[in-house]
Symmetry: C2
């Protein structure tokens, strides 16, 4: 139960034949309204896939529709349609056009997302035929939502959905969502495709503001492997079908909850990971400073290998923390404390409690860094670096 | 033949007992003059080890000696003496004082370098006793140079030395050097200890200028695993014993040659590596822009895993290149070419030659990125990310 949990949405996920594995690879999410509000945040990579170019322009009102409006999203796995030149963009346009024809809407109302191998053209006859099948399969059932979430998986081992309902009776409104992404999870926007749906009544601006603000503090604070995707896209579709208009604070709180939980599942399924690591920097001069420090620590291969080996190697934390520029995050190294899973093994610039007292057996590993420079705090999630990650990524395309 | 190749130098490497493995762990390099010129470049990490604090101050003339002068270097492996608080600094001072007493010089003329585990105090009685033995073992022979190079190894699998002699007869002068470092090799200064010796006649300023300029373009362009050390130190000692004064250009050229070759050996011995990867960015608007782009590409775990799997996955090159900020390195993604081992598989924003025609079997892998934005070029060296790296670093301290 995910993208179909909110009223006004149908979805489908089918086997088009884009994946050599024969697994399902094409998802369709349709907003039946009454409203067709849409918002999106995209990768900040300068090399972006054709569907990102298309969807960004569409939401800006540059593909014939109004800004902030869309009726449907087509999502395929198997090919990222990135680095495919002008042919790639024509393929994305053809995808939107075919879906639009099937759904009886304008092509400028159909968002497109792709994920998979970079640099290979999508098999268009297969994709277009798959769209016919997906349209026939559209339903507003939980099963249809799960089918869609399954069809966008790449090296994900489980599909990832979440839903949250607020209010009761006639006041009830819902946010649901699906997400994929287990590698290339990095700064700038955690690498992923995600579609969030709600039946709350929102304006395009409210939807965009809420999505930008919430993703910045949730999925954008995941750094699995430091590698930024060409295809990152998080979309929010609002049908207004509940007739309920939550306050901005209410809506952002609910969206934060759903998006955090979906992000948490990404980390839990990160390629090869055996530990999920929450790096919390507190006592910083600002939230931005805390986030920068936590993000820097989260990018240490040495720390991530140490955690894989169940080794509370706080030297790796300190050596990485020291690479944050002073103007970005001021602190005095002599005032820093580090705790791993609740045990303070480094205090005020010198070793403290015995590292052997740290229990590294839980999957969730908490690294708490206190800077004693201010009051602000931020958490960035990462995961350990294991043999499994190397195996998966040494053999990804061959 | 390395630090003892130039006239005026003696060295030793002994088993003090700092390493649990029982391997040699203490090196001493002495400059017998007639001059005692010294220069150093150090990690830019904000968290620095006690010996870095000491050696930096010493070369600045803040430890009782003159700026740019030193008679000897003590180097130990087994412990980095980093994150050890004020006790760590007292330990470094005691090390310099003991060596100074044994050599009959002032403590403010003895540089100290440490490498090994972060956060553990050095076993000082063992170190000080080892210094007595090392002093007795000092010699100007090739064997003594190799002993010193061996004693500074941590997870290095081979010792790394190099030497270059310029001129002939009475005009002859020599540069020699040793280096260690196979993990935590990163931006800001490739993580390493290195001692370069020369019998050329140099002023302290000439030595410092040459060292800073040469390291910036050689060892500082190695990015093995993106992790910056707390202990990075590259020292240059000049005895003047040849009586020859090379021109600045001559000296820098020779120093570049020796330092490049030593750096190349670091990459070749990088933890777990099976491929050495040279990433060359050309057609950039400036050398700094080219270096920034090459450094960014060199930090992609996904690319490094792909190379480990002998997979010419140029999508990983493009997606990583796209994360370089535009103000740092301007280019148009549609104008970029990428060649791997001489085969152009991506040209002007679209796939070109067949990836299957790339031969990935050589250990040296060349990735050439042409930006078509200007005339400048830079190369950054990295290596692949393998199971071996994970194994080594999952079990480093436990």
């Amino acid at each position: 139960m995910s993208v179909t949990a909110a009223r006004g949405f149908r979805a489908a996920g089918v086997r088009a034949g884009l994946k050599t594995s024969g697994k399902s690879d094409l998802a369709l999410v349709v907003n039946d309204g009454p409203f067709d509000i849409a918002a999106g945040v995209f990768t900040t990579n300068r090399v972006v896939a054709a569907p990102v170019v298309w969807s960004r322009r569409l939401l800006a009102g540059q593909e014939g529709g109004q800004p902030g409006r869309a009726r449907a999203v087509v999502l395929n796995s198997g090919s990222a349609n990135a680095c495919t030149g002008s042919q790639g963009l024509r393929d994305t346009e053809a995808t939107a056009a075919r879906a639009a024809g099937l759904l009886g809407v304008e092509p400028g109302r159909v968002l497109v997302c792709s994920t998979g191998v970079i640099g290979e053209r999508i098999d268009m006859p297969v994709l277009l035929e798959g769209l016919d099948v997906a349209t026939l399969a559209l339903a507003d059932t939980p099963r249809a939502g799960t089918d869609a979430a399954t069809a966008i998986m790449t090296t994900d081992t489980v599909s990832k959905e979440d839903t949250l309902t607020m209010g009761a009776g006639e006041e009830r409104w819902t946010i649901g969502g699906m997400i994929k992404g287990v590698g290339m999870l990095a700064p700038g926007l955690a690498t992923m495709l995600a579609v969030l749906t709600t039946d709350a009544v929102l304006t395009p601006q409210e939807a965009q503001d809420a999505l930008a603000s919430v993703t910045a503090r949730t999925v954008n604070r995941i750094n699995s492997d430091g590698c930024m995707s060409t295809n990152d896209t998080v979309l929010l579709l609002a049908s207004g079908a509940s007739g309920n208009t939550p306050s901005r604070a209410e809506f952002e709180e609910a969206l934060t909850e759903v998006t955090s939980r979906l992000g948490r599942r990404l980390v839990a399924d990160a390629e090869g990971a055996t530990h999920d690591i929450a790096i919390t920097v507190s006592g910083a001069v600002s939230e931005a400073a805390a986030e920068a420090a936590a993000r820097t620590v989260s990018s240490s291969n040495l720390l991530k290998c140490a955690v894989a080996g169940a080794d509370p190697n706080w030297g790796r934390v300190l050596s990485q923390l020291g690479t944050v520029p002073e103007d970005v995050c001021p602190f005095d190294p002599e005032e820093v404390d580090v705790a791993i899973n609740g045990v303070t093994i480094f205090r005020h610039g010198a070793p403290d409690q015995d590292r052997d007292s740290v229990d590294m057996s839980p999957r969730e590993t908490r690294i708490d860094i206190t800077l004693s420079a201010g009051q602000a705090e931020a958490t960035v999630w990462t995961n350990d670096l294991t043999h499994g990650y190397v195996t998966i990524n040494a053999d990804y395309t061959t």
